[in-house]
Point group: C2
Chain length 295, copies 2
């Protein structure tokens, strides 16, 4: 039976809710630090992680509004990591989502501090949601997200990513970097939504598998888009991986095998959702979207 | 009556406990990120904030071991802020506590990420202490610390500090910068200990006043030491504030008035402790120490 689920309308609605909540959690004001934080936080990101958090909550029977604050905190953590990754001492990128990066639009000190402040705000927002969620569940989510973002997750992934520039890696090493650098937070986004949404042990177990597979699929398609994508749609130059002699899925396993691998990961992700009813349609749609996305 | 409290033995004992717990919370391993994090975290800091947290807990009748994890998380937040403040794009300091700063000993990318990772680890450590503390109190402390460290606290203080270099400030503006940059986290350290130690409303109110006064006193004496201190004891050069044309207490109100002001703040701090019995001796000793310290 064909699904009547309209993913585009869903994304538009969720994005509006997320952006409205962000405006509440970090109100515009005249200070330079808030301006720099909001510059990057509202720079037109895809909101993939908050949407995954919300989708996971919905799949276990909760509503978007039940996890909106946590979803926004996750986007703050993600945005902090982008700001710091773009710094001159790191990837030294001038353009992000078609706009000057934070340190270009402001200055390096402000960008470092805006990243610091967004990371800190995420935990402030999470801890101040104590009235919305059972405190012990909230602590579990704070643990999950800080672990995923920290020195055994995102930070270690970025360390390895920097260290590996110009070095030939095998597929296992690449996969490990991605699992740390982007996979951990994507998986934690899904799990946060599932836990706060009140999912049971079996549901959470399946969503863990879902999160792992789409996290990796997301990265594989990112590598593919860096070769074949349209710079206008991506909002950034393509070919940068090759210029930096970065080891990527296409560079190691070839383009066709990379696309096949991405499809396999998406199949795994969809398979893990088989125990869910149509409330998991958003998560299914995200999985399919990853393959067909242009940006 | 003379107090028999031996502050030196107290500090030695507390420092050992803090350092032992830090070794548990962030075990040495072979990764570069852990090495960089531990390099700064174990660089011989005074552990003033964790000692304040513990002292506050003791003053309301708890024991050091009851708040040790939280005390160490606070030191992680403090150390992250030092690493980032020292970066070339910020204060560009090569020496800290007599040792090369993190970005000198490692590299800039590693230092940025080590700071990020320490900040993140603080919240991981706090959230994973859920079995040690009532969850709602723990969330209150996470909120308190993230607020103090964030864009309305420490980060904003550093923004203003950078913006004010070479600009003449009045005493109110200086006081505001210090209240944000160092005062907020010092006060939050005291309050965290008091809250987790089970302090009542009156005790917490008085400790708030205590924290505010010693936070500012600490900064005033810091400014004084930057003029009159012994570089060998401080582990850093003196006169750097003057070289940078930074507005400081001595430069604005003069040296004698600055010392008098510091004494007044310490008197206020001691006064706020008058409702406490001798379990507050550590906090009283910290207050007195601030005036007499050489580093």
């Amino acid at each position: 039976m064909m699904s009547m689920f309209d993913f585009n309308s869903y994304l538009v609605a969720r994005n509006r809710e997320i952006n409205e909540r962000i405006d509440v959690l970090l109100k515009p004001d005249s200070s330079r630090i808030v301006s720099a934080m909001r510059y990057s936080l509202t720079a037109g990101g895809k909101r993939a992680r908050p949407v995954l958090c919300i989708g996971a909550a919905e799949s276990v029977g909760a509503e978007a509004k039940d996890v909106l604050t946590v979803a926004c905190a996750i986007e703050m953590i993600h945005t902090y990591s982008l700001i710091h990754d773009d710094l001159p001492a790191m990837d030294d990128d001038d353009l992000r989502r078609g706009k000057p990066t934070c340190h270009v639009a402001y200055d390096e000190a402000s960008a470092i501090l805006a990243g610091d402040a967004l990371l800190t705000l995420a935990f402030q927002v999470l801890s101040s949601a104590a009235s919305e969620y059972p405190p012990s569940r909230l602590l579990e989510v704070i643990y999950l997200l800080s672990h995923a973002a920290g020195y055994k997750g995102m930070v270690e992934g970025q360390m390895r990513d920097i260290a590996s520039e110009g070095i030939s890696l095998d597929i296992d090493a690449i996969e490990q970097i991605h699992a740390l650098k982007t996979g951990a937070l994507i998986q934690a986004s899904v799990l946060s939504g599932a836990i706060l949404g009140g999912g049971n042990a079996e549901q959470i177990e399946q969503l863990k598998i879902y999160g792992k597979n789409i996290g990796l699929a997301f990265q594989v398609t990112d590598d593919i888009l860096n070769v074949e994508g349209d710079p206008a749609l991506l909002g950034k130059a393509v070919g940068s991986d090759e210029n930096r002699k970065k080891s990527t899925y296409p560079s190691i396993m070839g383009m066709e095998a990379s696309k096949q691998f991405a499809r396999k990961l998406i199949d795994n992700a969809l398979e893990s959702l088989s125990i869910f009813d149509n409330k998991a349609e958003p998560l299914r749609a995200v999985a399919r979207y990853i393959i067909y996305r242009k940006r």
